[in-house]
Structure formats: structure tokens, C-alpha cells
Amino acid sequence: MQIYFELFMSFFKIGLFGFGGGYAMLPLIRHEVAGAPHNWLSMVDFTDMVAISQITPGPVAINMATYVGYAVSGNIFGALLTTLGVCLPPLIIMLLLAKFYLKFRKNQYIEMAFKTLRPGILGLIAAAALSLMNAHNFIDKASLVIFAAVFVACLCRIHPIKLIILSGVAGLLLY
């Protein structure tokens, strides 16, 4: 029973503090699922799930919630709880915003907070990249070459799915 409560609370927290969406939510997800105290996923599992999220439909936070919920509890109920947990805070907050949005739109205090939150979100994304730069994900020099090539290709606006499939094929040829 305890584990279901912990799963729900972790993903509720991710939904509540996950500002910036997408990659900006990754360090928060990693903090909750791949590391002390929970250690639900290894760093390699986590990286692989980010990759799987890129090549499957839907937001990465939802994909991650469903996967961790099922993998940890071993049943669909766990997956339902985590997915519900991650959706509930945005649902409540967005409902309030939608209801009062004319008032919120020009609220000066919200604007003040967002002046630092916007660059802060870049920091969150950078943190996700930094914590994944480890010996599990970079196993040899070829890894560095793949990293550099994908980095440049991504700046040239080549689609992420193509890049993932190409680097997977490179992996097949190399390893």
C-alpha cells in the first residue's frame, strides 16, 4: 500500500513543480525516480525511457509516469495512479487560470516571478543534460562522436525521431 502512496505523491510533485514542460521537467522526474531515496529506475533505464518517449506519442512526463507506475508496482493500477498524479496539479491549476484568466494575464507579481523562471527553465534543461553525461551513457569515443553529430544536426533542425533512429543504427553497426 505504501508504495502506491509514494508513487502517487512523487508524480503529483512532478506535476506541481514541473514548470516549462517537456525537457524542463526531466531533472525533477530524474530526482524522483532515478536516485535516492526511491531508486525506482537506474540512470540507464531513465535515459532509455527518455529515448522511448521521443519515439512514442505524447508528453514525456505522461510516458514516464505510466512506465514507472507499471514497472515499480507490476500492475496497471500503479500506472493509473502515477498518470493521474502527474495530471492532477496541472488540471487544477489550469482550471483556476482558465476561470480567472483575465485577472491572471496581467498580474504583475506573476510577471515578476516569470522574469527569473524563464531563464531558470533553461537551467533545468541544462541540469537534465549534465546529469545524463555519465559513463553509463557515454561508453567510448564513438559515443562522443554520436553526441557531437546529433547536437549539430539538431541545431540544423533535423527531426529528433530521425536522429534517434540514425544513432540507433550507428549503435547496431558499432557495438
Binding site: V60, Y70, A113, A126, S143, F151, L155
Partner: protein, 182 residues
């Protein structure tokens, strides 16, 4: 009833056919809710984006809640969110139940060895264009760097960092306002 079903179905399609999540989903959401269904006009869509970025959580979920609420109030937002999340939920559940074991396979393993550094690059590369788009200042760069270091090296919870950054913005804003008033 009919429009609730339409809301569910529209967001189900958005959830089903957008790979990657986040900003990649915007064009499809816009096509579905602005052009095809005309649930919101393009001015409201821009406001929706601003609000979706203000609220925490996945942007696509926020968009679903907003459009659903606008058309059919609470029931609409719940139905739209359900439609949005259901495709990911089913697909990931299928992968977790039946496919994840294949990772032990030699070829799948090699495939993932190639993918892992690529994922890190995919996360890191948008930093440049995002920074440029928001016209980041030196102060912003230092702030972002400190946030990244605090989380990645000192293992401070990102939730705490979010609160600290927002509080910092509030303090700076209030100080600036007082100075102007003085």
C-alpha cells in the same frame, strides 16, 4: 454530449499523432482546435499558450484543460485531458508489459547504446535556440548556470530550485518597484 465526445476524440488524435511531446505538439493542437473545430480563435490560442506556459505540467495537458473548460466547463476539461493522455498511457503500458524485456536482446542493446548519447544531445541542443528566442541577458545566463550546477552537482531538488527562482524574481521585482516609487 456530442461536443464532449468531439473534445475527447480531438485530443485523443492529438495525443496519438504527436511524437516527442512539448513544442512539437503545438502545430497539431493549433490545426485541430483553431482551424478545424474553431473552438478558440487564433488570438485566444496565443493567450492559451501564455497560460499553458504559466501553469506547471505538460503543455499539451494544459492546452487540453483550457480548451475543454472553454467549451464544456469542468466536464469538458476532464474529457479533453483524458483524451490527451489515453494514447500515451496505452502505448507505454504495452511497451512496459510486452516489449521492455527485449532490451536484453543483443541487437536492441546495441541500438540503445547508440541512442543514449544522442538523447543527451537532443536535450542539450535546444538550449541554444531557447536562450536566443528569449533574448537571455548575462544575468539570465548566470542564473541558468547556477540552477543547472545546483541540481546536477549539488543534487538539490529541482522543486526547491523552482520555488527559490520564483521567490528571487518576486524580491527583485518588488525592490525595483519600490525604487521607482521612491
Amino acid at each position: 454530449m456530442n461536443e464532449l465526445w468531439q473534445l475527447f476524440w480531438s485530443f485523443f488524435r492529438i495525443g496519438m499523432f504527436t511524437l516527442g511531446g512539448g513544442y512539437a505538439m503545438l502545430p497539431l493542437i493549433q490545426h485541430e482546435v483553431v482551424e478545424k473545430r474553431q473552438w478558440v480563435d487564433s488570438k485566444e490560442f496565443i493567450e492559451l499558450l501564455a497560460l499553458a506556459q504559466t501553469a506547471p505540467g505538460p503543455m499539451a495537458v494544459n492546452a487540453a484543460v483550457f480548451v475543454g473548460y472553454k467549451r464544456k466547463s469542468l466536464a469538458g476539461s476532464i474529457v479533453a485531458t483524458l483524451g490527451m493522455t489515453l494514447p500515451s498511457f496505452m502505448i507505454i503500458l504495452f511497451i512496459a508489459m510486452y516489449l521492455i524485456g527485449f532490451r536484453e536482446n543483443r541487437y536492441v542493446e546495441s541500438f540503445f547504446k547508440g541512442i543514449r548519447p544522442a538523447v543527451v544531445a537532443l536535450i542539450a541542443a535546444p538550449l541554444y535556440s531557447l536562450g536566443k528566442a528569449m533574448k537571455i541577458s548575462w544575468f539570465g545566463i548566470i542564473l541558468a548556470g547556477s540552477v543547472a550546477a545546483a541540481i546536477a552537482f549539488a543534487d538539490i531538488s529541482p522543486a526547491i530550485m523552482v520555488i527559490v527562482i520564483a521567490a528571487l524574481g518576486l524580491c527583485l521585482g518588488i525592490i525595483q518597484k519600490k525604487r521607482k516609487a521612491a
